[in-house]
């Protein structure tokens, strides 16, 4: 396979885990076979860094959000963009609701307009897709790095620049809960399979586990580097977190000093199990394969790495 350097930023697996979508600062989201890393194709159309992507349950539609102020909807198979949501501000996060009826799009604060969450309908029939925004929610300052749908699509979880995790009620657009446990910007949120809890990654060098209903902080995982991404294993009580020294400071340090390895922790004991080296830039994004037997990491160094766990990993007690 020709080595393709992607400034990896965000990746997501489809439901079955056979396809892997990545998006990056290079404007072109890419589809890969998750098993062997073979590239299937790219989605050409964005004019800015693509911050985020999500894929529907049936793997037929990909949605991407980009710094070019658009959120595009693609046909995964043909790679054609069939609809574009145009915003005034860069799009930071998109997430499809359970059942793919709606999606939430977060826009960055720009030109005095605060960050906002927009909920739009995803039409079953692609010709009927509109850009009508059903609800817009805004309030807190600072951009929202990540938005996730809570259980039964009743709530939306967000985390962003101000380090506060918020739980919004979709019906009323009000904030239900706030968690101020993190001291610095939140980079990533990731829900457990059953959506009862989620993990947050923050630049304050910790990842924390929260109750997704009450936002009660359950566990704290202390890393010795800023954490950019943290994910929960779908099958074991393990977590992986990744990050590293800020990209600005990287050139001045040894690749080992930057702490660019991904770390596996026990979810329950908050203890470190081990680390996986490889990246020579900070890790921006992590995703666990739905079957829990491999995971993917994307770093500022431009590489996406797919790691398959060997059998020893599953024997760890």
């Amino acid at each position: 396979m020709r080595p393709i350097l992607l400034k990896g930023h965000e990746r997501c697996y489809n439901k079955e885990g056979d396809l892997l979508f990545t998006c990056a600062k290079d404007h072109h989201p890419t589809l890969w076979y998750s098993d062997d890393g073979e590239r299937v194709g790219t989605y050409i159309g964005h004019n800015g860094a693509v911050w985020t992507c999500d894929v529907t349950e049936d793997s037929k539609t990909l949605v991407t959000g980009s710094a070019d102020t658009t959120c595009k909807m693609w046909d995964t198979e043909t790679g054609t963009c069939y609809f574009t949501h145009q915003f005034e501000q860069p799009v930071r996060a998109v997430a499809l609701s359970k059942g793919d009826q709606h999606m939430v799009i977060s826009s960055d604060p720009f030109m005095g307009v605060p960050a906002a969450l927009h909920i739009v309908d995803v039409a079953a029939n692609r010709e009927e897709q509109t850009n009508e925004i059903k609800i817009s929610m805004s309030g807190p300052e600072g951009r929202i790095n990540r938005a996730l749908w809570g259980p039964l699509n009743r709530t939306i979880l967000t985390g962003g620049e101000d380090g506060v995790i918020r739980l919004w009620d979709v019906e009323t657009g009000k904030i239900v809960h706030e968690a101020n446990d993190h001291k610095k910007q939140i980079q990533h949120l990731s829900l457990s399979v059953d959506k009862t809890h989620f993990i947050s990654a923050s630049l304050d060098k910790t990842a924390k586990l929260f109750d997704s209903e009450t936002l009660e902080c359950l566990k704290t995982y202390a890393a010795d580097r800023p954490v950019n991404a943290a994910i929960l294993s779908p099958i074991l009580d393990h977590i992986i977190l990744g990050g590293g020294q800020d990209a600005m400071a990287v050139t001045t340090t040894h690749s080992k000093a930057g702490k660019f390895d991904s770390k596996i922790f026990y979810k329950i004991y908050e203890e470190e199990i081990g680390g996986i080296r490889g990246h020579f830039g900070p890790i921006n994004a992590l995703a666990w394969h739905p079957d829990g037997r491999s995971f993917t990491s994307g770093g500022e160094d431009g590489y996406v790495r797919i790691h398959h766990f060997d059998n020893d990993y599953f024997r760890i007690k």
Binding site: E16, E57, K98, A124, L218, D224, H254, I268
Partner: protein, 717 residues
Amino acid sequence: MGLEEIPPNLPRGEDGYVDWSKVDVKDLEMPAGDDMGIVSDDEGIDVEEVKSESGFGTVIVVDNLPKVPDAKFEKLCTVVRKIYGQIGVVRENGLHMPKGADGVTKGFAFVEFHNPAEAAAAIEQTNGYKLDKAHVFKVSKFDDFSKYDAVPDEYKAPEPKPYVARENTASYMLDDRGRDQFAIRFGDETEVHWNDAQVKEPVEVYKRSFWTESYVQWSPRGNYLATVHRQGVALWGGPGFARFAKFSHNGVQFIEFSPCERYLASGSTHDPANAREQAQVVVNFFDVRSGAKLRSFQGPISDFVTGAQRGLTWPVFKWAGASDSGAFFARMGKNAVSVYEAPEMGLVDKKSIKLEGVLDFCWSPADPILSVYQPEQGGGNQPARIALIELPSKKEVRSKNLFSVSGVRMFWQQSGDYFAVKVDRLTKTKKSTYSGFELFRLREPNCPMEVLELPDKTQKIVAFAWEPKGHRFAVIHGDGARPDVSFYTMIDDSSAVNKVKLIGTIKNKTANCLFWSPKGKVIVLAGLKTMNGQFEFFNVDEMETMASAEHFMATDVEWDPTGRYVTTAVTSVHQMENGFNVWTFNGRLLYKHQRERFYQFLWRPRAPSLLSETKEAEILKNLKSYSKRFDELDESIRNAQDSHLAAEKQEVTDAWNAWLAKKRSRVEANDYVDEVRKIMRQRYPDWTEGGAADVVETQVEVEEIISVVEEPLSMVR
């Protein structure tokens, strides 16, 4: 008041007004009941005394002078004038020495300076000055005399203060498992921990936020922890780390204990009020137990910076090794080294040791022996010189002249048995240098000396270190990134006279620093700084590497006082990975401890052993029987620790499972599942839980042969 009210008894002038020139003020009477705003002395009203400059601020009183008759009067005057003339300008007729009726002086004198600053300096510098044994100057301000006057003539014994039991500062030595303590400082925290090798983590003893304003330091025998604050120094000790003493010294920056722990020197520099003046240096000496200030040295920074130094390097005063013959400390001046003795704090023999051009000096860590280095003088006519001077006799034990020297470094062995000087000499062309060592044997008669040159003497000497208790030393030499390490011994069994002998050289080591175990035998070869924290634990007895390890970016290495454990630390000079690792002496990693903004790691020193050498040897011989008890103890602690940890983990797991079960019960409840199904089926009508929608059902026709039976066809005809 009208003219008619003027009392008739006042003399009046021609104009009818009072002629004040003829009035005697004492005859004036105040009108009754009116004090005219003037307070009368008789009324006994206490008026706050306004302190005013008496005008005598420039005058000092020197007491304890010899009482001399007329004949010697002039001579004494000259001596006093000379002493004070060095400090400031004594005014003309500014020296007054009262005489008694018999013409003999009364033993004190008044000296007047030009300004109060000089007077203050004179008091500072000559109070306690020893003219001779019987006459030690007592110098005070003239203005202070009223204060001294107020001292009652009758001696009243001071009330004895009730005895306050102090905590036992040596209690940490009584740990029944023989563990050691250490202090760490990170962020705003200062903490003291036990190093527990069995539990494999530090066990907290005491901690406190904002305990110190700059740094902390253990006293040399481990009794106290000193914290440094803007107002001065505080000492803490005992099991609860109660405050034992505080020493006031504004803006203190550095502290230094005497090795016997009885005295403390504190130093500070103060920026001048205006840019033209020099910064001031203040060094105070305190008695640790009483808290009394024994002596203070003050002066402009130029008085304290000597030789080749560019800035002030602390310690300005260096303490001599602890010994029975006295506590000496010394400071280098221009062409002299001044040695003082505590607690009198006076110059030994009232004279500095004159040493032309002296550049560097060092004390033996075990004896009051001073080593000094004087560079070449007179453009090379007078050779450079190394001398060993014994105190208090000031006798030169040994000296050695050296030629074409570009620089030296002095290394004392911990127990004062040996002394080495690394000499960098210029080659004949004077373009490059090469190094060699001069080795002195202090314990042998006449202090024999020999020269050691490495096989390749052009090689750069990277580091040198004596074995703390022993006869060996290690040298790192080489020019490349992977230098060699050589070991030498001072004892040669094969020859009648002791000669330095090479034990062995190990090649190509990533090391630039040497750290001997305090007990000798084991050495850590460390590659710090540019070598990124590589360590090799080396047994010199067997000449074998016990372990190699890495602590990435480590900046500091410290042995515990017993030589059982080593710590390597990354301090806040680096941004990442701050914290420390604890290793056993043979290079097994015990535990890691990460702390943000990590500043200091300090093992608590132990008090000197009370066992005699023979007793120590005996214990060493029967070590097995002693260690058995401790091994058993360690084992039981380890087991307890394991079961404790297991129980803790179980508890955490149970708590999590209970939480999860509670949450799951809702997620798995029927109404929730129905809801999810409803949501999903809106878009995907075939959706079922577990993704079964994708399972394609196909019907396969299977033809099965159940049995084959051969039947003969019956032919019908």
